[in-house]
Amino acid sequence: MNTADTTPATDTTHLTDTTHLTDTTHPSPPSPADTTGLDDNPYDLLAQDHDEGHRWAFGTGFADPLAGIDTSVPAGLDPHALARWCLALGDDALIYSHRLQQWVARLPELEEETAVANIALDLLGQARLLLARAGGIVGQTEDRLAFFREEKEFRSVRLAEHDDRDFAELVVRLLIFSTWRLALFEELSSAADPVLAAIAAKGVNELAYHRDYAARWVVRLGDGTPVSHAKTQTALDSLWPLVGELFRPDPDALATVDPAAFDAILDTVLATAGLDRPTVAALAPVGGRTGRDGVHTEAMGYILAELQSVARAHPDATW
């Protein structure tokens, strides 16, 4: 984003006239006179960055999250491998964030509402940075990558798309995911790509909060009543098959997680919670392929339908 560009009202990329949205094949940009005339759709003016940056409401308008950052790829790195890896990490965060957003307004306590919404927001922020990093290399915008790719192009691990059946699954899955992602981001904060390293270093502090929040709930539920203990053990058993995929070798990876480091955290939490570490087998790849290869579970199609429907119905819309 170039904030020095105080876009005049004639810039059609800032217009969201609904008549344009319903007929996207004929965007028919209005003439300059239209944008100041009395017949204007008032929403056109509201959506614009006018009057030198003053806008009509908090949070409207999106800008490049990597504005002003040197995004050249260092010599010695394969740009396409870097883009694929950033896309994989960004997709994990985007899909996981969406799953958490679906919990909002369904959680048992207001405190958990704010917690889950905050975690979803952090992951969405990480997704935006990572998709912007990947998109900058392959010449796509973050929105294009989020809203206009097909299921088989999404590289998220299958753990990210799992539909939590209850609060126990929510916190157990969050413990597994954030423990793994925190360990990965700690390694990535010294990655060869300085942009990815900076994104990871920023994410580390956030993920530490997510992991510890989830861990405290797993302990509270596992060490709670017989009912909460049983539900948490059931959640652990049903999610465990999705753990193996997190440790599959990835030729594009710029860092890996030491399984022993992951186990050390998980075993500490499970021991404190009085839960048994499952011994079930990992969910098998399909023809040797998993989420990173674009092979997802049935749940993924429903997520994308919800996540992408508005953008696909109104491909010229801005927000």
């Binding site: 105080t6 030198e52 935006r128 700690e186």
Partner: protein, 172 residues
């Protein structure tokens, strides 16, 4: 004006921008203003480049701050303004100034405790970290009621002495 005066003025204008979610603080108090540069080229005024850093990856206030810094500088007579983002090193609450701490406490928000020093793997914390003193009555007898709050940067607490709930900035 000399370029030095212009730079000082531009810095003052940018630094006085309030944070939209903690409006008692300026972006300078919050430690998210990294640099302000001024280059005197151009017939109608020089180029001001402001660099800010996000608090959290998903902080929605970044967009507001960018727009606000931009419009303030334009109104102050700097026609060419660019606002850039800087990610590394990541923002920490240790960068909130002493003035910022004072303003937070005066508004009933507990300032952050020192950020945990980080070297090696981040240890798991299964117990609640020490709670800050009550910004209303000063009691140490407080407890955290929620790790997260209405904005990304705060937690919720309750004072056992005066029985008032209060927000505190998370140490990060």
């Amino acid at each position: 004006m000399t370029a030095v005066t212009e730079l000082t003025d531009a810095y003052q204008v940018a630094a006085s921008t309030p944070d939209p979610e903690l409006p008692m603080l300026t972006i300078e108090d919050l430690g998210i203003l990294r640099t302000v540069d001024y280059s005197p080229a151009g017939e109608d005024g020089g180029q001001v480049t402001v660099t800010i850093t996000p608090t959290y990856s998903g902080c929605p206030a970044m967009r507001e701050i960018t727009a606000d810094v931009h419009s303030r500088l334009i109104r102050a007579g700097f026609p060419h303004v660019t606002v850039n983002t800087q990610l590394a090193p990541p923002w920490t609450t240790d960068w909130i100034t002493a003035d910022g701490h004072r303003k937070l406490a005066a508004s009933g928000i507990a300032p952050p405790t020192p950020a945990p020093g980080r070297s090696g793997p981040i240890p798991l914390t299964l117990t609640a970290p020490p709670a800050p003193t009550c910004p209303r009555c000063g009691s140490f007898d407080t407890r955290r009621t929620a790790e997260f709050s209405a904005t990304a940067c705060k937690s919720l607490y309750r004072c056992q002495a005066c029985d008032e709930p209060f927000e505190g900035v998370k140490a990060l």
